[in-house]
């Protein structure tokens, strides 16, 4: 490691480790976790809520608190996903897939533990990446034009293969539904589409209504039906802590998720949600038992949880090095910098080393704080699952509806949540996967913008796009990730059949 970078990091830790700043970090991580557990607020909302404190606290302390809150929100979102199947944010949706299945098997404790440990390790990876690669990566990310982004989103969509379960066409149909959802509302040129005269739809369908309806409401409907049909719920004894075996199984996923998440986070607009989906897809592809994903595989929690945490640190790269916020959350963070009269950009590292390295150290400390108070809290969180199902189900509905209402205060959004709840109920009943709908809804909007900007730049001709090296590479990777696993599976099956015949 370069000596000057190491010295700067030490300066950052000196700043962050003062008792007052440690307290700010603790308070930030705690508030972030609490806010993150509830749906609707999200990381940008949580930071915006804490923004007024920047006026009152000392500049470095307030930035440290915001950084710790950011890491806390990312962790808190997964807690609700794992325990109740209620995703608080896009990045927490993936935790529903295997995390909630683990909770249903009495393994909520290990799922929460691995989310905390994964977040910590990935946070560490991201901080190392941030201090070593920030200026270089920020410049590289700026070379991504709309064509490269379009290819990246296509690559993101191929994660559908990992989410497909038993039937790829079913997953593709679900993904197309998600893409449809993303096209509702006013487009980038001001054209109104699919709003049918409803003015509330001009801004599109509120995204939060989609995952909450599909996962939380449909979960409630299925359980309510079972209760009303005379089904009984066994009160399961939950394991609180993770075993060494589970930890060993997760290490690879954590490192893969951490590295991947960081690099995806660096790209402006890509975000933690995409990082989590891509990480899940990678875990399915590298697994020896891909068919078990979605049934409670710990790697399905470890990888995406690490990825979304690393992505949140990666998103700091363009903000710190170039002054460009890559997400809503870093835009709020940028606002905090302006409040304390600091201009992020290439000169930030030389003009305000205490603030920038203090922030980097605070991101790391935030993860340490999360680990310190969340591991002991796992037992407390898990106790939620001991509540009778007849109490828990209406609570889930109220929390989900409050979360959606808190966004815009529009009743229509909650009605959409109910509609997606019904869709989720019937999709689950007939074995259509739900996660591809979210994947389509997350990527659809940005993908269309990138596609249309590309078409404008290329005068309506799509072929020049394929002559760009990054685009071509991403398309080849997309094709491989979509078809290669199936080809390999078919090939090994054929070989097995031939061997059996012999």
């Amino acid at each position: 490691m370069d000596a000057s970078v190491f010295d700067s990091l030490m300066l950052g830790f000196e700043v962050a480790l003062t008792p007052t700043n440690l307290l700010y970090s603790f308070v930030g991580a705690l508030l972030g976790t609490i806010i993150g557990v509830l749906p609707g607020v999200g990381s940008a909302g949580a930071l915006a809520l804490l923004l007024p404190l920047v006026f009152k606290l000392d500049p470095i302390g307030s930035i440290i608190m915001l950084a710790a809150a950011y890491t806390g929100v990312m962790y808190g979102g997964s807690t609700a996903s794992i325990l109740l199947n209620v995703p608080g944010d896009t990045s927490a949706v993936v935790a529903c897939l295997d995390g909630h299945q683990m909770a249903r098997q009495g393994r909520a404790g290990p799922a929460l533990c691995i989310a905390a440990i994964g977040s910590y390790v990935a946070g560490t990876i991201a901080v190392v990446g941030l201090m070593l690669l920030a200026p270089f990566l920020a410049e590289a990310a700026l070379r991504f034009s709309s064509q490269e982004y379009f290819a990246l989103y296509v690559f993101g969509l191929t994660a559908v293969a990992a989410l497909a379960g038993k039937s790829l066409p079913k997953a593709m149909i679900a993904m197309a539904l998600g893409l449809m959802v993303a096209t509702v509302g006013t487009d980038l040129m001001g054209a109104r589409r699919f709003i049918f005269g409803i003015s509330d739809l001009q801004e599109g369908i509120e995204f939060l209504a989609v995952p909450l309806g599909l996962f939380a409401v449909s979960e409630v409907l299925i359980n309510a039906r079972n209760i009303r049909s005379g089904g009984t719920f066994e009160v399961m004894k939950h394991k609180i802590y993770i075993s060494m075996k589970e930890l060993k199984e997760s290490i690879g996923a954590i490192f893969r998720g951490g590295i991947l998440g960081f690099f995806i986070g660096v790209l402006p607009g890509a975000g933690a949600g995409i990082a989590a989906f891509v990480s899940y897809s990678v875990e399915v592809q590298v697994s020896k038992t891909p068919e078990k994903f979605g049934t409670g595989m710990i790697q399905g929690v470890a990888g995406p949880e690490s990825a979304n945490n690393a992505a949140s640190a990666g998103a700091m790269v363009p903000m710190l090095a170039l002054g460009i916020p890559g997400s809503a959350t870093t835009a709020v963070m940028l606002g905090a910098f302006y409040i304390i009269d600091v201009q992020p950009g290439p000169l930030l590292f030389t003009q305000h080393p205490d603030i920038v390295w203090g922030l980097i150290a605070a991101l790391y400390l935030g993860n340490v704080m999360l680990l310190i108070f969340n591991l002991p809290m796992v037992g407390v969180f898990v106790r939620i699952l001991y509540l009778p199902m007849r109490w828990l189900l209406p609570m889930i509905i109220v929390v989900a509806a409050s979360g959606v209402l808190s966004k815009n205060g529009a009743i229509l959004d909650v009605l959409f949540m109910c509609g997606f709840g019904a869709i989720g109920y019937y999709f689950r009943k007939y074995d259509f996967p739900l996660a591809p709908i979210i994947l389509g809804a997350v990527l659809g909007d940005n993908m269309e913008i990138a596609f249309r900007q590309s078409m404008m730049m290329m005068q309506g001709d799509i072929w020049p796009m394929f002559t760009r090296p990054i685009v071509a590479t991403l398309f080849v990777m997309s094709a491989l990730s979509l078809f290669l696993p199936n080809i390999i599976r078919a090939w090994s099956k054929r070989n097995l059949d031939v061997e059996e015949d012999v």
């Binding site: 066409p169 589409r193 209406p394 509905i397 109220v398 209402l405 259509f432």
Partner: protein, 164 residues
């Protein structure tokens, strides 16, 4: 023949695929009617949705080709129509809850919904159901309204009573 068509398009998971096919066709036709807004915009606002529509229809076709006759049927036998209604009933309660928020405001609507919901799901006494409703109302109110400073509807009913 009629039985075959019914089996291919209207049973189990194929019913969902049929409905999705109809949705994709309607979506595609609607997208075709979206006008271009700008000369710079070579492909127009409807192009991307049209692509999605075509993609969705292709996937539905793939599904029908790959469909296996027995998928979804076993589940149908286990869960009967009346059990289905019992499950979906809570969805109507949620819709009523949402409308109630507009009418009587967030805290009372939360209390009413949770109390009735808990009783509907098998709580023996109304008293316990009301206690759960009260606790959750207080928790949600203190977090969302007091701590996060989010404004929810206070209810048209109370405004009407107070003559506002």
């Amino acid at each position: 023949m009629g039985q075959k068509i019914k089996s291919l398009f209207f049973e189990g998971d194929r019913m969902i695929a049929t409905m999705m096919t109809i949705l994709f066709v309607v979506y595609y036709l609607e997208a075709e009617n979206i006008p271009k807004t700008n000369m710079e915009d070579k492909i127009g606002a409807g192009a991307f949705p049209q692509l999605i529509g075509v993609f969705g229809l292709l996937m539905c076709a793939c599904f029908f080709f790959s469909v296996r006759r027995n998928s979804g049927v076993q589940y149908e036998k286990i869960i009967g129509f009346f059990d289905e209604i019992k499950g979906v009933a809570i969805l109507f309660m949620v819709i009523a809850f949402v409308l109630l928020i507009d009418l009587i405001g967030y805290p009372p609507a939360t209390f009413v919904f949770v109390t009735i919901g808990v009783k509907f799901l098998g709580e023996r006494t109304w008293l316990v159901a009301a206690a759960v409703g009260g606790v959750l109302m207080a928790a949600c109110y203190s977090f969302f309204v007091w701590f996060l400073d989010i404004t929810f509807s206070t209810g048209d009913f109370w405004l009407m009573i107070m003559g506002e």
